[in-house]
């Protein structure tokens, strides 16, 4: 029971957008799809939605080719948001739900509930263009879920949202998760991924760089990081002289270091106490996703521009 991509490839005129990409998203999971601009995220998403078809490989949902899966199963929030600006909110959402195959009465009923939940009932007769940005985002989200899809696919859902709306969207995410929906979303924002995702994949140049459960990915780096903070010595300059210790970050609130195998965290703690420091923080952490992302993707692109600017070329957009 899962969404399965097997050896999927797609090329455009001069770009190999997706290159033998395989991944699996378990039903009911939240899956984070990461990658720099132009990595092939949108192309992959469009192929999952059967908007474009792969040159090679296949994509199945519970064993059925996605092209044959009812449209009703999919909810899509595109990266570029869009609705009919001059159409009333309720008419627009009911129209889209009916297009996905929901009977009108059902669509009206569900819509009333959702508008209530999002506290935008008073806006139901307004034209979309008359709404505030935040309310437009809510409507856009409703357009994705009103037909009660099994799989939600969201391209950069958090981009351009203020913190209030980010929280609203997050709670909606978790509710969808509670209802057993499969959620796939692409993003640049690592905090959201660490907070929400059970599984992730980082892709670059159409290939998976690293993938699996969030823990696996974090462990896969094989690194252990230590964070130390001393109340009387925020800089902890002597760490630089200690062998087997490499300081990776010096922040106001702590210093983060990477330890080479023979050095144990306890030794660092002892050294700190020995130096007469008053320890306010001492923890062993896994590298952040952001670190892994930069390490993996940055390492591959190796200082080159991370990606071609999007939409410079029309085929690029498809990538």
């Amino acid at each position: 029971m899962s969404l399965l991509l097997e050896q999927v490839s797609k090329a455009f005129t001069n770009v190999q957008a997706v290159d033998h990409l395989s991944l699996e998203v378990g039903q009911g999971h939240i899956f984070g799809f990461l990658g720099p601009n132009g990595a092939g995220k949108t192309t992959t998403i469009r192929m999952i939605l059967d908007i474009i078809r792969p040159d090679a490989g296949q994509i199945t949902w519970n064993g059925v080719t996605v092209g044959e899966v009812s449209r009703r199963a999919w909810g899509y929030l595109p990266e570029e948001r869009g609705l009919y600006p001059k159409m009333a909110v309720d008419e627009q959402l009911i129209f889209l739900a009916r297009l996905y195959g929901i009977p009108k009465a059902q669509a009206v009923k569900d819509l009333n509930e959702w508008l209530e939940r999002f506290q935008i009932t008073e806006n139901r007769k307004k034209k979309v263009e008359e709404l505030s940005k935040g309310n437009q985002q809510k409507i856009q989200f409703l357009a994705t879920i009103l037909h009660d899809p099994d799989i939600l696919i969201m391209d950069e859902p958090f981009t351009g949202l203020d913190p209030v709306n980010v929280n609203l969207l997050k709670s909606a995410f978790l509710e969808m998760h509670q209802r057993g929906k499969t959620i796939i979303f692409s993003t640049h924002q690592m905090e959201q991924v660490e907070e929400l995702c059970e599984e992730i994949a980082i892709i670059d140049k159409g290939k998976i760089v690293v993938g699996g459960s969030l823990r696996q990915v974090k462990r896969s780096s094989g690194r252990k990081l230590l964070r130390l903070a001393l109340d009387n010595d925020p800089v902890i300059a002597w760490l630089d002289q200690m062998s087997g210790v490499k300081v990776t970050k010096r922040r106001q609130d702590y210093v983060e270091m990477e330890l080479s195998t023979p050095v144990l965290p306890e030794e660092v703690l002892q050294a700190a106490l020995h130096q007469g420091g008053s320890v306010t923080r001492f923890e062993v952490v896994e590298p952040s996703l952001s670190d892994i992302f930069i390490e993996r993707v940055g390492g591959i692109t190796n200082g080159q521009a991370i990606a071609a600017p999007e939409q410079a070329d029309f085929v690029q957009t498809l990538g």
């Binding site: 078809r53 519970n62 899966v69 869009g82 297009l99 509670q178 699996g212 029309f314 957009t317």
Partner: protein
């Protein structure tokens, strides 16, 4: 990956191995019509509710109604305008007849044969007899504009009639032409009378000859009267204009609609909910119906207004003859059926192309530019049609009337004007239908490729490549 199991078991998974492929195909077809219907209703309502649609329809209705009243109004005005004519007859009876009575008949009868005498307040000329002694007073009146014309009838030394015509404006205008004709005939009558011909002989001489004109197209027209042919010509011209302007206006609307959905980025959602073919067909049919609605409203108010003309003329003028007569009841049912077929197919053919072009443009501002070649084709068809009405039997018209882009307008004109047989119409409809299907299919491929393209305008080669790319 085993962290979280779905909290709620899924009840009805719509996709399932047990689905029979035949059922799938059936539901897909059912969904195609359901989606096309939903999309066309949306397109239709979104447009007919716009203020611009309501306003433009009202303006068009007003224009049609007013123009169908124009002939009646002109007639009414001219009937209310009387030329005041004072006549001084110094000759006594001319050709055994009172000159005043003659002039009254010659100038105020609407038709020479069986016309009604309108010598009352509706008469074109108000004729008064005056005495030679009044001549100077009457001249003064003409100068002051109280009298239009002073006419003095006299004889010269040879005994011929001479007419002294005193007016402010000289012998110009339609009224004077009629007067001078009447006077010419009066002078001829007088000469013949003096040369000894009897009144009967004179009357015989002036009986108009019977002229019967038959043209080749008259014969082909299957015995249509000149009046019917005139009506057909006007109907053909009118429908050509309707066809051309609908295709042009609503074709552009389709292209703009497609580009608009790309600009709004709603396309991305639409394309995941429906297929490009459904989107295109829904748009074409929906916008086509908007055009059809407008044409129907305007046409029915036009028909109603022109049917009202005869009762109105009767009420205003006491008679319904005269002026421009277009009897719309003369249009045959066949012509209307053909019009409907050509209207629908012609619109579909052009609309498919407009949709394809619109789908390739990513910004609204670029739509007009991209449409230029299509506009040329459309305007070309219109020009050809207007020229062809003058030479409907020419070979080039016959040949071009089978060219699908010209068929709706040209073949229709030929049929209405009786230059084509019914089977020619049928044949052209079949050719047009085949082309419409082919072009709709090709356009839906372009549409499919075009709707997701943004940015730089693709080259023809790229479009062609994308048309054959795999996809739904």
């Amino acid at each position: 990956m085993q962290l979280l199991k779905p909290k709620k078991p899924k009840q009805d998974n719509p996709s399932n191995h047990s689905i029979n492929p035949a059922d799938l195909a059936f539901t897909a077809r059912g969904k195609t019509w359901r989606n096309i219907r939903l999309i066309l209703v949306r397109e239709y309502l979104a447009r007919v509710r716009r203020k611009i649609f309501v306003i433009s329809t009202v303006i068009l209705v007003l224009m049609v109604v007013v123009s169908s009243f124009v002939p009646t109004i002109i007639q009414w005005f001219s009937s209310n305008f009387q030329t005041k004519l004072a006549v001084i007859v110094s000759t006594g009876p001319v050709a055994g007849q009172d000159a005043i009575t003659y002039l009254n008949q010659a100038l105020n009868l609407t038709s020479t044969v069986g016309g009604t005498d309108v010598s009352g307040s509706n008469a074109a000329y108000k004729i008064t007899q005056a005495q030679p002694t009044e001549a100077n007073t009457l001249r003064k009146k003409v100068q002051d504009g109280d009298l239009d014309t002073l006419l003095t009838i006299n004889r010269n030394q040879n005994g011929d009639l001479i007419f002294d015509y005193y007016t402010k404006n000289g012998m110009e205008g339609l009224g004077s032409v009629r007067l001078s004709q009447a006077l010419t005939i009066l002078a001829l009558n007088d000469r013949l009378d003096r040369s000894g011909l009897s009144q009967n002989q004179i009357a015989q001489l002036f009986t108009p000859p019977e002229i019967k004109a038959t043209s080749v197209s008259d014969e082909k027209a299957g015995g249509k009267t000149a009046e019917e042919r005139a009506a057909s010509y006007i109907v053909a011209l009118f429908l050509v204009i309707v066809l051309f302007s609908t295709i042009y206006n609503y074709g552009v609307a389709i292209a703009q609609g497609a580009a608009e959905e790309k600009t709004n980025r709603i396309m991305e959602i639409m394309i995941s909910a429906a297929t490009p073919f459904q989107l295109m067909m829904g748009k074409i049919i929906g916008i086509g119906l908007v055009g059809f609605t407008q044409v129907s409203i305007v046409a029915s108010s036009g028909v109603a207004a022109s049917l009202l003309q005869n009762p109105i003329k009767e009420a205003l003028l006491g008679n319904k003859t005269g002026g421009v007569q277009i009897d719309i009841t003369k249009i045959s049912i066949n012509a209307l059926v053909f019009f409907l077929i050509f209207y629908i197919l012609g619109f579909m053919l052009y609309a498919a192309l407009y949709a394809a072009v619109g789908s390739l443009v990513s910004r609204q501002e670029d739509v007009q530019g991209a449409l230029t070649p299509l506009s040329f084709l459309n305007i070309g068809a219109y020009m050809v049609a207007v020229f062809s009405l003058q030479a409907i039997d020419a070979t080039w018209v016959t040949v071009l009337s089978y060219f699908p882009f010209f068929t709706p307008i040209l073949m229709f004109s030929r049929l209405v004007l009786g230059s084509a047989q019914w089977w020619e119409g049928l044949l052209s409809v079949i050719i047009l239908l085949i082309f419409t299907i082919i072009f709709t299919w090709l356009s839906s491929r372009v549409y499919r490729a075009g709707v997701l393209l943004y940015g730089r305008k693709p080259t023809t080669g790229q479009i062609f490549k994308l048309m054959w790319a795999k996809g739904k």
